[in-house]
């Protein structure tokens, strides 16, 4: 007799991850903290605990004791489809991993589940399927001409051919949130720091592909990561600066993993770089920003890699700023809702999460809600507009720095 085939494979899971599925003690902490579960009106399918249980049961049905003795039990395709919808309703914010009493690396699990479903033809979710084609074709997910990354820089900006410092702008800041890229470039110029950029040779960092489980297809993410690394090396860079949390995390954690090699340069977030200069007294402030400012930790900068203090130190150094904290910050921060492909795949969910975060900021009576990631800025602005909180300004830390250094950004071109 021919045995039935199991309905799922173990592709893209590590052996430790499969073990982690059995480590959930069902304490429920992750459910209390998950931002998308909350914003979805507590849709039970989105609860992290539930996703672990369901995949553990899929494993049991396919490879457990009974499956070994009598053959695997089939899992209906609708059930797998439903699972896909749920596992993509996650911003990979990592809150569930932070609170998990069993220390399960949940974010990696969600990404492996996604990759597994992509491989079996069930994932990804909706529009996210376009990422691969777009990034393959345009080298960015916005369908923009890759030449337009920095060719719009006003004439005063000086970007070196070769330099020890390289600013990796990222698709979102160079092609959509241009004020941020302009601010970063002008701040570096004004500080007299010679820096270079990849320009049209820059390729999407891969975050969108990795987070949505599509990194392995045609090895696109790996090839692109290697190309970026090679191009950065060719520019003679020893320090690579990032003003985007998504690119920062992708470079720091995902590039070495994809390429299988240590990076030949240092990955530094621009706020870390500035904090250092502030300590040395090398920044001259020209303007005071007399406002109350609060700060939203981007998931991929804070919780994922532990950069909590530098952005705060920078904000507190700016004259005039009265810095106040929201209730949920640092390790316990509430996600802005944009990450993990949710903004592209399920915009309503992204907006729901963003609105809650904006309310956190409003509760502090801050004038400005700042962050250190163009993607957070975009979604938080959308959240603010959705709840009509016109009085709240959403701005990136680097833009505030530029302003306080007396830099004018009014000539920022549109997209």
């Amino acid at each position: 007799m021919v045995k039935r085939q199991p309905s799922i494979t173990t592709e893209n899971f590590t052996a430790v991850q499969l073990m982690e599925l059995d480590a959930c003690s069902r304490c429920g902490e992750c459910v209390n903290w998950c931002p998308t579960y909350d914003a979805s009106g507590q849709n039970p399918g989105l609860a992290p605990r539930d996703k672990i249980l369901r995949w553990a049961e899929f494993m049991k049905k396919s490879y457990g004791l009974r499956a070994r003795l009598f053959g695997p039990k089939q899992i209906p395709l609708e059930e797998l489809e439903q699972f896909k919808n749920d596992v993509y309703g996650c911003t990979t914010c990592g809150m569930c991993a932070t609170v998990c009493e069993s220390a399960i690396n949940t974010v990696e699990l969600w990404e492996s589940m996604r990759a597994n479903l992509v491989k079996s033809g069930i994932g990804p979710f909706g529009k996210q399927g376009m990422f691969l084609k777009l990034i393959g074709e345009y080298k960015n997910p916005y369908m923009a001409d890759n030449k337009d990354r920095i060719n719009w820089f006003p004439a005063d900006i000086k970007v070196e051919e070769q330099a020890e410092v390289l600013y990796f702008g990222g698709c979102t800041a160079e092609l959509r949130q241009r004020k941020l890229a302009l601010a970063t470039a002008r701040v570096l110029n004004k500080l007299g720091i010679k820096f270079t950029m990849l320009g049209e040779d820059e390729i999407c960092c891969g975050s969108a592909l990795i987070r949505t489980g599509q990194y392995f297809i045609n090895d696109t993410a790996k090839i692109n990561a290697q190309k970026n690394v090679d191009n950065i090396k060719a520019k003679g860079a020893k320090i690579v600066l990032y003003a985007c949390a998504g690119c920062y995390r992708a470079s720091l954690i995902d590039w070495p993993r994809l390429t299988g090699k240590e990076l030949p340069f240092k990955v530094v977030h621009v706020t870390e770089f500035l904090q250092d200069l502030i300590k040395k007294g090398e920044i001259k402030w020209e303007k005071s920003i007399d406002k109350k400012v609060t700060y939203h930790d981007p998931c991929h900068l804070g919780r994922h890699v532990g950069v909590f203090e530098p952005p705060r130190a920078v904000l507190e150094a700016i004259p005039g700023i009265q810095f106040i904290e929201m209730e949920r910050i640092k390790e316990n921060q509430r996600c802005c809702g944009a990450g993990g492909g949710v903004k592209a795949g399920i915009p309503d969910l992204a907006l729901g999460v963003a609105s809650t975060r904006v309310e956190d900021a409003l509760a502090t009576s801050a004038d400005i809600l700042s962050s250190a990631c163009p993607f957070c800025k975009r979604n938080l602005s959308d959240g603010r507009d959705a709840i009509g909180a016109k009085e709240l300004e959403v701005e990136d830390v680097i833009v505030l720095v530029a302003e306080a250094m007396g830099i004018d950004l009014s000539d920022t071109p549109a997209e």
């Binding site: 430790v16 429920g28 490879y63 609170v99 990194y215």
Partner: protein, 263 residues
């Protein structure tokens, strides 16, 4: 809670029964763990690599992850073992009451488990000693009667500690709305089983000693009560581990080690 052997003349028979049961329980445990290891080892030994075919994939990946530098917390294995596995600070961080609940279950269960193992070892050594003739040369505490007396008080103490945790756990699952609503059979079987074991232990001991937990039950019922306790303890606390939520006793420490205490 006491051990069955030595209670009555039926001792020899029951001792053989217990041996057989223990072997069956351990056998089921080993088969179950083998299946689990095989299932886990169907994963890869590195991110993005092809699934493995070897049963060693799991230990290999675990060792690999433990040797890697972690970006957020990069704590030592010792710190993980002491603070995260033994002291269970990740539960404490989330809830003091749940931590108290679990640490009492953990300490009670682990100690009773270890003491049962030690008692078993003493009995075995003594029995073999009598056969081969080295029983005389064993140190004084290696005599089953003496050893049992030594364990009597700690046995009581840790049984009560375990009972406290089990009562809190049951209370939580019954009366805390959020916990109750999310409880599935996977959760309740574990607690109910543990409760039955703990209470049957008290009762078996109570019948034998004629004290409170005996509820006035005739001494004649002492052997079957004790046997019942031993049987379900062995089956539930050993054989059932690989097939139930009990697997967390092994999987959570593995996870803590792999992720260096977690994020």
């Amino acid at each position: 809670m006491d051990y069955f052997s030595g209670i009555s003349d039926a001792l020899r028979v029951t001792f053989v029964q217990m041996m057989i049961l223990s072997i069956i329980a351990i056998g089921i445990f080993i088969v179950g763990m083998y299946i689990n290891f095989k299932k886990w080892s169907m994963g890869s030994t590195g991110y993005g690599q092809a699934p493995s075919k070897s049963i060693w994939a799991f230990p290999k990946m675990l060792m690999y992850q433990m040797s890697q530098h972690a970006h957020v917390h990069n704590q030592s294995v010792l710190e993980t073992i002491v603070l995260d596995i033994l002291f269970q600070r990740r539960i404490l961080r989330r809830s003091k009451i749940r931590w108290f609940m679990h640490i009492t279950i953990f300490i009670g269960w682990m100690t009773l488990f270890a003491m049962s193992g030690a008692m078993f070892f003493v009995e075995m050594t003594h029995m073999i000693g009598e056969r081969i003739g080295f029983a005389e040369t064993l140190p004084w505490f290696m005599s089953p009667e003496v050893f049992r007396e030594l364990l009597a008080v700690p046995n009581d103490v840790f049984s009560y500690i375990l009972l406290i945790g089990v009562v809190i756990a049951i209370y939580r699952r019954l009366f805390v709305a959020k916990a109750r609503e999310s409880t599935i059979a996977y959760d309740s079987i574990l607690i109910i089983g543990l409760a039955v074991i703990t209470i049957s232990g008290f009762i078996a001991d109570g019948i034998r000693t004629g004290r409170f937990w005996g509820f006035g039950i005739d001494y004649a019922y002492a052997p079957p009560a004790a046997l019942f306790h031993v049987v379900i303890s062995l089956l539930f606390c050993i054989a059932y581990i690989p097939f139930s939520k009990y697997i967390h006793i092994l999987a959570i420490p593995f996870t803590l080690l792999a992720n260096k205490g977690g994020e």
